[in-house]
């Protein structure tokens, strides 16, 4: 078992490195396909030709492509992602200072989103009754509704009649107190939690209904255990196991954040940074974000698969 697991992890690690190399090639090649090439930001007619040539040289864009790629890759391996085209600051520094904002919002959304689990349990217990129907209607509506648009509509409400929430940002300028920050966090986090409520509640509901039909539940009931013990000790614990597989997405999501919600709520995180970088054709930043988020996603998925075998002994690695 142990050696099987070790071999499995080793094999997955090798795959992950290969996959990352592949993604790094994609991330390197795509900017070269852009009209005007990676130095498109220099197309401004006010920029003189000799200055343009000097900047292109200083970013190493005159080297042959394979050399450029290998240089970049070598730097990336040392966590050096080069300099931003826009303000010439180190990319890693720009990314680093955005992480706390992203992490704050993602974590709050995720924790609030976990409320979807009790919602799913409740729906399963009330199967077919109006409570179950109501939760079903909520999930169907929530799937068709663009959550960022709902966020915009709530902003409209906050701007006009119901002046409960601020119109974006992380804090009021000149007031960085905790209540003020929480007040700014509330609406984005609630909108961000919607996905969790919908996803978890559906998932947990169907898992629980599935498990309640299993033989070991009947056994537990037959030996006279209370319905509470059967539900929480047997059904819920087993229903939560497959949620571990979602861990990979969650882990990378905590850092990459949500492009859409950060844009909607003027939240200064990495998601919005990537959109800004796309507008400014700041390719070093875009390339860095692609590589970092891919690495996080791959690593998260690997962790999730290992954890899955740990919580569910039925899983075999071979």
């Amino acid at each position: 078992m142990t050696s099987g697991l070790t071999r499995y992890i080793l094999r997955r690690l090798v795959h992950s490195v290969g996959l990352l190399l592949l993604i790094s090639m994609l991330g390197f090649t795509i900017p070269r396909l852009a009209p005007g090439g990676p130095a498109q930001f220099l197309e401004d007619p006010r920029i003189g030709p000799d200055f343009r040539a000097r900047v292109i040289e200083s970013f190493g864009l005159n080297d042959p492509l394979p050399i450029q790629y290998l240089k970049w890759l070598g730097n990336v391996a040392r966590l050096d992602f080069g300099y931003s085209f826009v303000d010439r600051r180190p990319v890693i520094e720009k990314i680093w200072e955005r992480i706390p904002a992203t992490f704050q919002l993602s974590l709050a959304s995720f924790v609030l989103g976990l409320l979807g689990i009790p919602l799913g349990v409740y729906a399963a217990l009330r199967r077919g009754r109006w409570q179950d129907q109501a939760i079903r209607v909520f999930t169907v509506l929530g799937n068709a509704l663009p959550h960022w648009w709902l966020g915009l509509m709530l902003l409209i409400l906050s701007a006009s009649t119901l002046r409960i929430f601020p119109l974006g940002g992380m804090y009021t300028v000149g007031n960085g107190s905790l209540p003020d920050r929480l007040w700014h966090l509330a609406l984005p986090a609630l909108i961000g939690a919607l996905g969790g409520w919908i996803g978890f509640s559906r998932f947990v509901r169907s898992e629980i209904l599935d498990i309640l039909g299993q033989d070991y539940i009947r056994t537990a009931q037959a030996k006279g255990l209370g319905s509470r013990v059967v539900l929480y000790g047997h059904a819920l614990r087993n229903a939560l196991i497959p949620i571990v597989t979602m861990l990979g997405g969650v882990l990378s999501g905590l850092f990459s954040g949500s492009v859409l919600f950060e844009t909607t709520f003027s939240w200064p995180g990495l998601g919005r940074m990537s959109v800004d970088a796309a507008f400014q054709r700041d390719f070093p930043v875009l390339m860095a974000l692609t590589v970092i988020f891919s690495a996080l996603l791959i690593f998260g998925n690997l962790l999730a698969d290992i954890a899955y075998g740990w919580v569910d002994p039925r899983v075999r690695y071979d």
Binding site: P146, W149, S160, F283
Partner: protein, 270 residues
């Protein structure tokens, strides 16, 4: 049933209504009237006007054509890749299955939205080519779920007695796939198509909302919402109507696909 009528209404509105609105009521989605900027909804402009004085109702209707076409293209591309891959790997298994699994694993490990953001910087600004390429790329990045579902069904059908019987009668692989496996995945594919179209519309609207998808002056529901943040306080109707259109369209397609699933194949019922 209500979902079907709602969908029919949306499609008819986007296809026919812009013509009627233009010829009968004189509402031109592209005519700019700079003296009529940011007009609140009124009798003359039932959904108000935008920052260039264009009629929002007329624009929302015309934008529907673009959004629906993009949704359809995304679904088509994703089915054209996902169904054959799923069929082949479910039916043949073995090495082909391993290969397609590896590709699916790889694609699932790529943060699709970031890749799309990056790719969006390389797309041409052409009003026809850009939405088309966008749809093809979104579809090409999102066929993995389809392939997995089709693979599962194909795999289980392969083991049925009637397939064995057909083989015993000397049927070729092609005949078994087209006569026995394909009809069995057909209802599943219909349902997936519905979810893909709605999902495609939502994906396009999100990307265009960020300003990286369909670009002005072409109107899609998403691109009408680009820069909405400025309109939140100034012109809420600019945010309300395109979003409502996305919501109602996606909802009707989802409900229809749900209903189709129950009607076509009771075994798939949740």
């Amino acid at each position: 049933m209500a979902a079907l009528w709602l969908l029919v209404a949306v499609v008819l509105l986007t296809v026919v209504a812009p013509v009627i609105a233009q010829s009968v009521f004189g509402l031109d989605p592209y005519r700019q009237t700079l003296t009529q900027r940011f007009q609140a909804p009124s009798l003359a402009h039932p959904s108000g006007t935008d920052d260039l004085g264009r009629d929002v109702l007329a624009r929302t209707l015309v934008a529907g054509r673009v959004s629906l076409l993009i949704g359809l293209t995304i679904a088509l591309v994703s089915l054209l890749i996902g169904v054959p891959v799923g069929l082949a790997s479910g039916f043949y298994g073995g090495r082909f299955d391993d290969l397609s699994n590896a590709v699916i694993q790889t694609l699932s490990n790529i943060p699709a939205l970031f890749l799309l953001i990056m790719i969006s910087t390389t797309l041409p600004r052409d009003p026809v080519l850009r939405p088309f390429l966008l749809a093809v790329i979104i579809g090409a990045l999102g066929w993995m779920g389809t392939a997995r579902l089709v693979r599962g069904t194909a795999f289980s059908v392969r083991e049925r007695d009637y397939v064995l019987a057909a083989r015993a009668l000397g049927a070729s692989d092609g005949r078994v796939i087209f006569q026995h496996v394909l009809p069995n995945v057909f209802s599943l594919v219909t349902v997936i198509a519905g979810f893909d179209i709605a999902g495609g519309i939502l994906a396009e609207s999100a990307l265009s909302y960020l300003g990286l998808g369909v670009l002005p002056p072409t109107a899609s529901w998403g691109s009408m919402l680009a820069g909405s943040l400025e309109n939140v306080t100034r012109a809420p109707w600019l945010v309300l109507f395109p979003g409502l259109a996305i919501f109602l369209t996606a909802l009707s397609i989802f409900l229809l696909a749900d209903g189709l699933r129950d009607a076509l194949d009771p075994r798939l019922k949740a």
